[in-house]
């Protein structure tokens, strides 16, 4: 019984971290298993967003305000993880743009986006 209570307590106090773990799992599955290259890029983005959720959850503080400093408004959530994630979002978009440009190029060269077909074409 105590084990059950403990588990439930973990879930209600650390739910975001469990969501992070699940998102990382889904992203990893897509990266490995999706036959289509576009879906692999989507998987990479889901993996990234999982890590973002980890950072933003770490910055959170119960009852705190957004980190816009006004007179006597505290407590505030931590601004530093927000900054890191803002940078990471923009870098993620750059990464996606390059990946998709390469995908368009691969399609114009080989006429397919299917991983297995590409492998066959490449080794022929």
């Amino acid at each position: 019984m105590t084990v059950d209570v403990l588990q439930l307590d973990l879930l209600t106090s650390r739910y975001n971290y469990y969501a992070v773990v699940l998102l990382l799992g889904i992203g990893l599955y897509m990266l490995i298993e999706s036959p289509n290259l576009v879906k692999k890029v989507i998987g990479m983005n889901i993996f990234q967003t999982g890590i973002f959720l980890f950072f933003i959850t770490l910055a959170y503080r119960t009852g705190a305000n957004p980190p816009v400093v006004t007179k006597g408004g505290g407590p505030y959530v931590s601004p530093l993880p927000h900054v890191l994630i803002l940078t990471a979002i923009v870098v993620g978009v750059s990464l996606t743009a390059v990946a998709l440009a390469l995908i368009v190029r691969i399609y114009s060269e080989y006429g397919t986006l299917d991983e297995d077909t590409l492998e066959e074409l490449y080794y022929d």
């Binding site: 998102l23 910055a59 119960t62 980190p67 978009v93």
Partner: protein, 179 residues
């Protein structure tokens, strides 16, 4: 912060969208599921008191990213299929499951969400930025102050990344057009 109904509903929504993006066979459907996922995530940022990140995610993640994906799909192909979902390969599920269990085992040692004594939320660096950001930079939004002043070189590096990504994307695509 204990789990509220809004939080739980948002997390279930984004997880469902992610699973949908993973399993839908049609790539356009997967991209749409991913756009819904980004929108859900940006609302989660608002709930976690990160409005700057939420705005960026909604504009860039749900907006620009979806446009990029749809442009890529328009220039390539969506696989023709009569199946709605992809078959699940259990060997990979097993591998990913092991990864998830290994990561999940570390969760109990993390501080509870919203704990004011946690190392990040209540830490020295956080306090420094919150106390000095306005005095030293005259910017009320601490996120902007850190982004543009304290970590300005980081942001310069970010701009370099965006620039080189633009150069790479253009050079990769130009060859296609003019070859």
């Amino acid at each position: 912060m204990s789990l509220t109904l809004l939080q739980g509903a948002l997390l279930v929504f984004v997880l469902c969208c992610a699973v949908g993006a993973a399993l839908l066979k049609d790539t356009l459907a997967a991209v749409i599921a991913f756009a819904a996922y980004s929108l859900g995530i940006s609302i989660i940022w608002l709930v976690l008191q990160a409005p700057d990140v939420g705005l960026t995610e909604a504009a860039v993640g749900a907006g620009i990213m979806t446009i990029l994906f749809i442009l890529a799909l328009a220039n390539t192909v969506t696989p023709e299929t009569d199946r709605l979902f992809e078959p699940i390969r259990w060997r990979t599920v097993l591998f990913v499951g092991a990864f998830v269990v290994a990561l999940g085992a570390t969760v109990p040692s993390l501080p509870a969400i919203g704990d004011p004594t946690a190392p990040v939320a209540g830490g020295e660096i956080t306090q420094y930025y919150l106390e000095h950001a306005y005095k030293e930079t005259q910017v009320k939004n601490a996120v902007t102050a850190v982004l543009a002043a304290y970590r300005g070189f980081d942001t310069l590096g970010e701009a370099v990344v965006v620039f080189s990504a633009g150069v790479v994307a253009l050079s990769v695509l130009r060859r296609e057009v003019f070859a």
